[in-house]
């Protein structure tokens, strides 16, 4: 064994592990997300709304700890929806 070579150090995930979706409650959201990915040549930036909806589905069904979406990196999506809402309310 070489002690000088760099080894990979696995790190625990920040928020722990996802509970398993035994009953497939969010399977439809996952299918929508996967279809979006396939249509966009697996570009993540195009399918962020679908991924946000999948996570929201998980949170609603107690399969994920509830957290504000900004903390999950969806701040830009939240801001844009707020802007749209205010525009709709004003206009």
């Amino acid at each position: 064994m070489n002690f000088g070579t760099k080894t990979f150090r696995p790190r625990a995930p920040d928020k722990g592990a996802f509970p398993l979706d035994h009953f497939g409650e969010c399977k439809s959201f996952k299918e929508i997300y996967m279809r979006c990915l396939r249509d966009n040549h697996f570009d993540n930036s195009c399918c962020r709304i679908e991924s946000k909806e999948y996570l929201e589905c998980r949170m609603d069904r107690q399969l994920m700890a509830k957290e504000p979406l900004e903390k999950l990196g969806f701040k830009d999506l939240e801001d844009s929806t707020e802007e749209n809402e205010t525009k709709y309310n004003l206009g």
């Binding site: 150090r9 696995p10 920040d14 592990a17 979706d21 035994h22 399977k27 697996f42 962020r48 999950l72």
Partner: protein, 259 residues
């Protein structure tokens, strides 16, 4: 009688001794003659004891003794200093372990988790649109693990600073429930320190009932500092590989990282 003594060149003490002995002789003579003078007796009584008791070379013997004592003292102090230094070195080698760990965490040396990177970073990070990275997914199982485990997408194109979601699928084809536990690996190793998982399915026991199939998501992002690291300048492809093992009932596996 004093003259031969002079010729020999004795010390003053010797002089006095000889003088005393001579006076004693005189006193004896006088006693013999019957004339014990009180003055002589007074003289004998008044001379301090040290003059009477010392022998030749007493002074040099005392000097040697004090010198030896000095040396002994010096040796003792030197030995205590050396012993203290030795104990100090042993203590430092024990203290070095947590200190080095703190240093590595502060500087992120060798791919260790940098302390202080947390949820605030996820909130405030800005995606770097110019740098597109292809993340390839790989799934493995241990030889004795009977699950069918595979990724649901072969690759995803992400940019640093943007969270991404990926799915794996696992199926238990056997007729009895199987508990699995997984670990992951990121290649290239250096990129592994920038690969942050917000939530996944690793390091915890996952139980699959007979003939059950589940979707397993991985929610991750690549640290925006990835773009600034010169060693990562030519890295465009990151491979994320998960491996599932079978876990025994009630087995407690340690979660990696300095918790």
């Amino acid at each position: 009688m004093l003259l031969p003594l002079l010729l020999r060149g004795c010390t003053a003490k010797h002089y006095i001794q000889q003088a005393l002995s001579s006076t004693r002789l005189c006193v004896n003579c006088c006693n013999i003659r019957g004339l014990a003078t009180s003055s002589v007796q007074l003289f004998l009584r008044r001379t301090p004891q040290r003059f009477l008791n010392q022998s030749r070379g007493a002074k040099t013997h005392k000097r040697k003794q004090s010198q030896e004592d000095d040396w002994k003292k010096k040796n003792k102090t030197v030995l205590t200093y050396i012993a203290a230094a030795g104990v100090g070195m042993i203590g430092m080698s024990y203290a070095a372990v947590p200190l080095y760990r703190l240093y590595c965490q502060a500087t992120g040396l060798g791919g260790t988790a940098v302390a202080g990177h947390g949820t605030e970073q996820v909130e405030t990070m800005k995606p770097i649109r110019e740098r597109i990275i292809k993340v390839t997914f790989n799934a493995d199982t241990h030889a004795s693990m009977q699950w069918n485990f595979r990724p649901q997408q072969s690759e995803i194109y992400v940019v640093p600073g943007e969270t991404a979601l990926a799915f794996y699928k696992a199926k238990n084809p056997t007729g009895k429930p199987v508990i699995g536990i997984s670990t992951y690996n990121v290649v290239p190793f250096d990129a592994g320190q920038y690969f942050n998982k917000i939530q996944c399915f690793c390091f915890e026991e996952q139980r699959l009932n007979p003939h059950e199939e589940v979707d397993m998501p991985v929610f991750f992002y690549i640290d925006p500092e990835f773009d600034e690291d010169p060693r990562m300048a030519r890295v465009d492809n990151i491979i994320l590989s998960y491996t599932f093992f079978e876990a025994k009932e009630g087995q407690q596996l340690p979660i990696p990282g300095y918790i």
